[in-house]
């Protein structure tokens, strides 16, 4: 008996393709009568779920901290978390909802740069302070910068500049790229190529669709090119899968591997033999000389059961940035906050790193220190999978404001 026709199967496929919509909001209620509301939009479902959830966890710890220390302008802080489902339309819709219906005073997010950029269009128009916690594409604080948008995580160019010299010097100048085919990937690859061309190197590479499960076809091409280094720009689960297969094919004996980020969330997801290569960390938990870091690490471990990652720090710092500047400016108004944030320095207990990071006036990018080094199987502590070889100051990696292409137009 046949109840299903071919068209139904096709419709089913179409429905599956469009399934990334509509996921319910997770609400975190504060206490007081009229709390100061903060809205966070991050892809809690989809490929970036792991890093997004880390940002949310960091943000929650910050909210607890702030409420313990008297809140913002004496009022309780309430965090509203929305799922962008890794979809631009959904992200924009959630940002609008947070501003129009929930009346939030600040919007944080998104991990996905394309969503962050689209959200910035909404937040700037509505005059609400927007802190991009973890979307890395240059444009956010570059050619598409906005008066109200500030960013905690690095630009892709900064991440590249944090590691490229080390790669050229230590590993070689013939590169093969494995690059995810979307804004973030393209922007990282371009930044690497600029560095490589300046050093007189050569390259080839593949643009790989996001969410690719099998990398064998691309790795076959990489091997045929015979590079010194495979520059692996894939992110999240894609990075883990591609590295696992890279090692599985024994290519680690024939070429080095490097890239910009290999986040703690991803390090945890690969078997020990695939913990290899040279990377940058935007924040690293093992800073034995810094007592504030130890306090934060303990706090996060208590809250989540895990050693904090850079993403935890992004969420934590984003929320704290808003609280600090609002208390400093004694206002919740977007324009006032944005003006006050220009050049604003983070105190050591929020900065949690060497040096004093600040939001650069010209492009609103946080000038924070980068930790360049090598991944390796865990030594002692299970989260000790990375050794920092050099610290790169934010200003050095970012280059002058004039090169970012950002001009701030105050509305």
């Amino acid at each position: 008996m046949a109840q299903v026709d071919r068209r139904t199967v096709l419709k089913a496929g179409a429905a599956l393709a469009g399934s990334a919509l509509a996921t319910p909001a997770i609400l975190t209620y504060g206490r007081g009568e009229s709390p100061v509301k903060l809205g966070m939009v991050d892809p809690l479902t989809g490929v970036y779920a792991a890093v997004a959830l880390s940002e949310v966890a960091g943000a929650k710890v910050a909210v607890e901290d702030i409420n313990k220390k008297g809140g913002i302008l004496g009022r309780e802080v309430e965090l509203l978390v929305e799922d962008s489902a890794n979809n631009v339309g959904t992200g924009v819709q959630k940002a609008r909802k947070l501003i129009d219906r929930d009346r939030v005073n600040c919007v944080i997010g998104d991990v996905n740069s394309a969503i962050a950029l689209a959200m910035a269009g909404v937040t700037s128009e509505k005059g609400v302070l927007h802190i991009v916690s973890g979307g890395h594409t240059d444009a956010v604080t570059g050619k598409d910068c906005h008066w109200n948008v500030f960013r905690v995580c690095n630009t892709t160019t900064m991440d590249v500049n944090g590691i490229a010299d080390t790669v050229i010097e230590k590993l070689g100048k013939k590169w093969y790229f494995l690059t995810p085919d979307y804004a973030y990937g393209h922007s990282v690859q371009d930044a690497f190529i600029r560095k490589l061309k300046a050093a007189g190197g050569e390259y080839a590479g593949d643009l790989v669709p996001l969410g690719t499960a099998d990398y064998s076809a691309h790795l076959i091409k990489a091997k045929a090119y015979n590079p010194d280094v495979l520059i692996n720009v894939m992110g999240g689960g894609d990075q883990v899968n591609s590295l696992k297969q890279f090692v599985g094919f024994g290519l680690n004996h024939q070429m080095a591997v490097s890239g910009t980020l290999f986040e703690l969330e991803s390090l945890r997801a690969v078997p020990p033999e695939a913990l290899i290569g040279w990377w940058t960390m935007e924040w690293w938990w093992d800073q034995p000389d810094n007592p504030h870091v130890k306090v934060f690490v303990d706090k996060m471990r208590k809250a989540t059961g895990h050693t904090p990652s850079a993403r935890n720090w992004f969420g934590y710092t984003s929320v704290w940035t808003f609280a600090l500047v609002a208390n400093h400016a004694k206002s919740l108004e977007g324009v006032k906050l944005a003006h006050a944030l220009e050049g604003f320095k983070l105190p050591p207990e929020v900065a949690l790193q060497p040096g004093t990071p600040y939001y650069r006036p010209g492009d609103h990018e946080l000038m924070s220190t980068m930790f360049a080094g090598e991944a390796h199987p865990a030594k002692g502590n299970p989260d000790n999978m990375f050794t920092v070889h050099s610290l790169v100051p934010g200003e050095k990696a970012a280059g002058p404001v004039a090169e970012t292409g950002c001009t701030i137009h105050w509305s």
Partner: protein, 289 residues
């Protein structure tokens, strides 16, 4: 260049073999019960996660067998309690149900095992490439092909020669007559459903060795499997086999010339097949109208 193409054709066959395992399970359930099982990817992910949890106790080999059985058991329970109620109704009902189940699976997996990927380690001797020339043929991938070949061969023999298998095939053509002849159709469908889910669980364990375990891992593998069924022809298991291998090779070859399109090419292929031969390559005309 010729080498590169040759490599990618054989590599495509390996990838295709994996899709076959997934698509055959989907196909079995679709053919006999008319259910488009959207939760198949969820069952696959569970197969991987169960294996991850079980492996420290019963080893990789034990997990390879026990995990798919557990997943099949879960499939059986869901079929008996929920899915069977929607047999014979508009297929959209069961489609929506399994669609919902897929979301539930994903979130339950995330709640139990966490959103962060988990490393699943396979026995050492399987992870090495067999030769430096054909470096992409690792022991593990050969092992995968062997498992797929055994599972697919076993399935076809079972459907061809066992009484139960013959009934499943007969049911695919005309369930009413099979029922009239005294076959317990209810049991037949339950068994068939569990069998399809077993294949998904097995695919999940195998995928775990290549990919990191993530709650969404099944979703990425589900669409190509659907495409394999449509290209091969709805209703035809050999067609599904052919479809799976073809899309693997197509994706592999496209990666040589235009890597960014390696994802899209299988859908283009599906569109072409639907335009030129709507029943699919080996589908029988009028079987599923």
């Amino acid at each position: 260049m010729t080498d590169l193409i040759l490599y990618n054709v054989s590599n495509g066959l390996i990838i295709g073999a994996f899709y076959v395992l997934m698509a055959l399970g989907l196909s079995l359930i679709l053919n006999l019960s008319g259910v488009i099982n959207f939760a198949h990817g969820g069952f696959l992910a569970l197969g991987g996660y169960f294996a991850y949890t079980l492996a420290p106790y019963i080893g990789f080999w034990g997990a390879l067998l026990v995990s798919p059985l557990l997943v099949a058991l879960l499939g059986l329970i869901l079929e008996r309690t929920m899915i069977h109620r929607l047999y014979g109704r508009d297929p959209l009902y069961s489609l929506l149900l399994t669609f919902g189940l897929a979301f539930i699976f994903e979130d339950v997996t995330r709640a139990v095992w966490g959103a962060t990927g988990l490393p699943f380690t396979v026995p050492d001797f399987l992870t090495k490439p067999l030769s430096s020339q054909f470096f992409f043929v690792t022991g593990y991938r050969l092992f995968m092909i062997a498992v797929v070949a055994i599972a697919v061969g076993g399935l076809f023999l079972f459907l061809r020669f066992s009484r139960l298998g013959v009934r499943i095939r007969a049911g695919t053509f005309d369930l009413d007559t099979v029922s009239t002849l005294g076959v317990n159709v209810k049991m037949l469908r339950s068994f068939n459903f569990a069998l399809g889910i077993f294949l998904a669980g097995l695919a999940g364990v195998l995928a775990g060795g290549q990919l990191s375990l993530e709650p969404t891992m099944g979703a990425n593998l589900l669409m190509p499997s659907f495409v394999a069924i449509i290209v091969g022809g709805v209703g035809s298991l050999p067609g599904t086999l052919l479809g799976g291998l073809l899309i693997g090779v197509a994706a592999g070859l496209t990666a040589v010339f235009w890597p960014a399109a390696s994802d899209a090419v299988i859908y283009v292929m599906m569109a072409v097949v639907l335009l030129l031969r709507p029943r699919g390559l080996l589908g029988e005309e009028g079987l599923l109208t």
